[in-house]
Amino acid sequence: MSVFDFANPERFERLARPIAVPTGALAAVLIGAGLYYGLFNSPPDYKQGETVRIMYVHVPAAWMALACYTALAAASAVGFIWKHPLADVAARATAPIGAVFTAVAIVTGSLWGRPMWGTWWAWDARLTSVLILFFLYLGYMAVWAAIEDKARAARLAAIVAIAGFINVPIIKFSVDWWNSLHQPASVFRADGPTIDGSMLAPLLLMALGYTVLFIALLLASMRNEIAARRLMRLEGAPGRPVSTVRKE
């Protein structure tokens, strides 16, 4: 049993269909529990007060932003090197999910920054690199949107994803350097205490919930894409109109 057995969309569908609903339900339970503990059943921070609760939504989203880009690059590499068709589908499906996690991280970070730093946006090193990451996601999706031929779009988008992934550490390093040169880092280094167990539990629950949510959304999106392609093939067959659904 190798990863190539999943290249068969039929087999993928057989595996994905039964776990689609349970993963979605599990994600809802985990995120629900994480939100309950994070928002209602955990202590406020001695320095940040109640605003620390934004962290339970924000920090896991930032983790997912990075994890999704890694997954995107890995799926792109598999798709590019071994021409694994499902890897292309997975990479394409990962991008919008990762972009939304990145946007959530940026927006919640901004909401947290307003009371804590007194400003909606600071050109802090982390904020800036996450913003650049967001643009990398948008560029990747722009390639898919611009090229009609799916097979070609998949491979060109894979090149963009891999080249971007190789650049991520360099961008991160340069932004850190830029930030330390331009403004004293001491202002925004109020990291607070090492995290307490009562805060760590909801944080990890949320992180787990986001991961399961990612899997659920990824499976749904991939099944959609496979179904859409099958529909297109069927409609392409002469004299057999199958549905009036808009062709992608």
Partner: protein, 223 residues
């Protein structure tokens, strides 16, 4: 090697002949400086502090606007087909095309930079570090930009896609370029490391750009 030199020679002479567009980059560069000056206002003291960042930003913008043509003309007239068919290593041809792009669009901008810097009231001690940082750093833009230019080959909205794809990749060159120009102007010990890191980014771009660009061109030419 001779093939690559021939590509460079041909591209550069085409760019500098009438209708070639080498001067367009310089005109755009000067125009962008005017736009910044008009937006910021005639305050010479303020402009003098911002001159180095502005010059780097507009050098980056003028690279962006010319990059979509990097392979486009050769794609349209079919010479790219010949290059793909005959090159032993397409990567080296892409490298040659990037070098030619820098010689015909980047270098003129670097040479025009002192005159534009004069308009922006750059302090006298800022000229040498600015020019050095532009010389070392702008080739990275041509190298890394080749990725976007190759991916967007033949698309209708190629220029905007090239800009979207290249922008994030240009961030390190911009950061260290401005950092070096600023540090050099005040004789800061940050200057040497910044210039060296900028050189490292250019060398890295010279490796990554041609590999990724060649892969994208192969795909675009066969499909």
């Amino acid at each position: 090697m001779r093939a690559q030199l021939a590509v460079i020679g041909r591209d550069v002479s085409l760019a500098f002949r009438s209708g070639g567009g080498a001067l367009h980059s310089v005109i755009f560069f000067a125009l962008a400086a005017l736009v910044f000056a008009l937006a910021i206002g005639p305050d010479l003291a303020l402009l003098s502090g911002l001159a180095a960042p502005i010059l780097w930003a507009i050098a980056l913008l003028s690279a962006l606007v010319s990059l979509d043509r990097l392979f486009q003309a050769d794609f349209e007239d079919g010479s790219l087909d010949t290059i793909v068919e005959t090159a032993d290593f397409l990567e080296l041809s892409v490298l040659a095309k990037s070098v030619a792009h820098w010689l015909s669009a980047g270098l003129p901008v670097v040479l025009a930079a002192p005159a534009v810097a004069l308009l922006l009231n750059l302090p006298a001690e800022g000229y040498a570090p600015l020019l050095l940082s532009l010389l070392v750093g702008t080739p990275a833009l041509s190298f890394l930009g080749a990725i976007g230019a190759a991916v967007a080959l033949g698309l209708r909205r190629a220029s905007i896609l090239v800009a979207i794809l290249s922008g994030p990749l240009f961030a390190p060159a911009l950061i260290f370029g401005v950092g070096a120009a600023r540090a050099g102007a005040v004789d800061s010990p940050q200057f040497l490391p910044a210039i060296l890191l900028l050189g490292a980014i250019t060398l890295f771009g010279a490796l990554l750009g041609p590999i990724a660009g060649a892969a994208a061109i192969r795909l675009n030419m066969t499909a």
